[in-house]
Symmetry: C2
Subunit: 425 residues, 2 copies
């Protein structure tokens, strides 16, 4: 047994807003992490974080201070053997969610730190820990409350059991070829046309054949930028579009009707993330263009409905907006049940580092297919992690170090701590 | 013009958990308020709060500290003339919502304090300020983004224009008779059977003909308690049931099939508050029992969908979980458009004080009917307010003092401030 003996939380912020990196129709952020460390009596330190956009990171840090004491003194074996209801269903804290917003994001940071500690104790990267776990252990950590009308524990077990077939072959293939990905670095809304053109050309030259642009500005600007990118990447590359929730339902349908000229592969976050019925209407109207969403989907109940309503053609799980590994597992299982491919949300701070593990595990044991699967890639801030992602020819290489690749370098924490770090003076 | 010159926030908590007051299948709370005061150059102080369940109130207080500086230095006239996107769509803070959870609840506190200041400057109770506003001013403050597929500004204006017809007659009637209400004080889950029986008998003797009990414990307990209450209140009183989200969708249907024997008027929060499709399935299965929800519905987008999906027969708006007066106005207008009665959520700390204004305004200018309308009443903590609700024979009397009835007594703030107040020593 490994017992959690204490915690620390760090408010770490990178000053990205000034350059327009990450800018879109809704957000202009200083990419930030609410970074949690859990010390243990086994000597390993579990780390976890949730990604935020700058201001507000102090609030998710405060949420961690409310939640982390609930796990100190408990063992990681016990905590990972069941759904984290001590955190998600606390009889007082739950009220300021429930299971959504700042508190739920902080829950994700804490739960992921527990699981990171478990993977480090086991000496395995997270994808491997999960892929090798017995089916009943995986099923036991999932909270089926409020999703069992769509996925029962028995159905989940059947998916995970079936996922054992051919697992070794899939792993060998991944180690040889890497995991498919796409890049979002070409078309941030804050970039001028010349920069978009140059970045698109460069990405194509580097081997990328799937790229994402931001839309949701004036429609004439979106059309012009789409034309620039499509001209650079040719007719056979995939072009994804991302509206970051700015549109109303009718507006999304009208705008995508015009942007269809540039053959978008998907439209991401066409409207408000809570609007299941709206996404369903948009999906029916814009098909065969796929609707994609999930980076700010609050929890497994929202994902359940998006699938039940046939509202999405691509499911974009986020590693740390929901309550960590167990809730992401619920979402991967739901996607497998409904036959929708998962393309995790990444970028931000460290999201690429996390979701590579999820995508690999999904391929090995849950979804078991690469058809339509791609992990987002954004070329920012990887240098601050001790086990950064590695890519080759537009594909992620399999991470091999123990844990969830979530450790920030100590010198980066010191430099970018807010507001006291040198970067903020 | 009245300019906001500063703000204060107080973490106020009442030790209610020990007595089992407010206990249900999910919550056992110390009823608390994140209490905001906005000073102005007109001399009036606007007050607003969001209700929380104890732990976590420090987090919503921190959210206020992030949000309130965004309105200091601005005028209440300017701030109430448009949707509060400075708070709800901040390019960095929005990420930790969006429009949900702790940040959105704090937004409600700040926005309501602005509107309270406006009502005080006008020298009118909130219901009157709103009922007398020109239609275009009411429409201008509503954020139609993400709901305009269900309600356009023109449709909203038509509802509000029509609401002028007969307004004076309805007001005279309310002043004579009061507003219908129901009591939730009889059946908290933490109360033993004898206490439930005694409180039901007492409430009936006091004139209450509509009462709510908590369900969601072991079903045999729920059945036994329902039998006790129904025996005390007779076949003609309304008995509402409230599961506080504990059930799954199939479980809710199965349990309500058994509880139907006691002729429930509605089942409130049968499942997870984000589960629009689940509520719709339950509503179809349990009709003619009405499904009611809303006290933790995150925002107008959730309410829009509940109405679009015909998932509810009763809409329970909350005054301060959403972004204050303008978002509640959006929800009242949506309910009117879809023909669903609004029965606001109350109880907690000061919620009765707030929602009486909303129900009266809804009757005067929006829904214009009392059919199926009742305001929740809980007999707790009113003594801490300077303008507490007044009831007679199970009906709310019309409040007549300027503002939103949201001022806490200074001595109550001092006594119950957390953690330093004498009540917590």
């Amino acid at each position: 047994m490994t017992t959690i003996t204490g915690f620390e939380v760090h408010d770490v912020r990178f000053p990205t807003a000034a350059a327009g990196d990450g800018s879109d129709s809704i957000n202009r952020g200083d990419y930030s992490a609410t970074y949690v460390t859990l010390s243990t009596d086994a000597g390993v330190t579990g780390t976890g974080f949730t990604f935020t956009n700058g201001q507000g990171n102090e609030i998710t840090c405060d949420c961690v201070r409310a939640l982390a004491p609930l796990v100190v003194g408990r063992s990681i074996e016990e905590l990972t053997a069941e759904p984290p209801r001590a955190l998600t269903a606390h009889p007082q804290l739950r009220w300021i969610g429930p299971e959504k917003g700042a508190l739920h994001m902080a829950t994700g940071a804490v739960v992921n730190a527990i699981w990171d500690a478990r993977a480090k104790v086991a000496g395995k990267p997270m994808w491997q820990l999960l892929a090798e776990l017995p089916t009943d252990e995986l099923v036991s950590c999932v909270d089926f409350r409020h999703i069992d009308d769509a996925l029962t524990p028995a159905e989940a077990a059947a998916i995970l059991d079936k996922g054992r077939d051919g697992l070794d072959d899939r792993l060998a293939q991944l180690r040889a070829d890497g995991f498919p990905s796409y890049t979002t670095s070409v078309g941030w809304l804050g970039y001028p046309d010349d920069k978009v053109r140059a970045l698109s050309r460069q990405a194509y030259a580097e081997g990328w054949r799937a790229m994402k642009m931001k839309v949701g500005g004036p429609i004439e600007d979106d059309l012009r930028r789409a034309a620039i990118i499509r001209a650079e990447i040719g007719p056979d590359s995939l072009l994804m579009m991302d509206a970051n929730q700015i549109w109303g339902v009718d507006e999304a349908i009208a705008n995508m009707t015009r942007l269809a000229e540039f053959d978008p592969y998907w439209i991401e976050e066409p409207t408000h993330p809570d609007d299941v019925l709206g996404h369903a209407r948009i999906q029916r109207a814009v098909a065969p263009i796929r609707v994609a969403t999930g980076e700010v989907a609050a929890n497994r109940v929202i994902f359940k409905q998006l699938l039940q309503a046939e509202a999405i053609g691509v499911m974009q799980v986020d590693a740390c907006r929901v309550a960590g590994i167990p809730e992401v597992l619920a979402e991967l299982l739901l996607a497998a049940k409904f036959g929708v491919p998962v393309c995790p949300h990444a970028g931000g701070v460290g999201l690429c580092e996390l979701v590579q593990h999820l995508a690999i595990f999904d391929y090995l044991r849950v979804g078991t297919s690469l058809d339509g699967r791609m992990v987002e890639y954004v070329d920012h801030l990887h240098e601050h992690f001790t086990d950064p992602v590695r890519t080759r020819d537009g594909r992620y290489l399999v991470p091999e170090l123990p844990g969830y690749s979530s450790d920030l370098r100590p010198e980066s924490i010191a430099e970018f701590s807010f507001p006291g770090g040198p970067a903020w003076n």
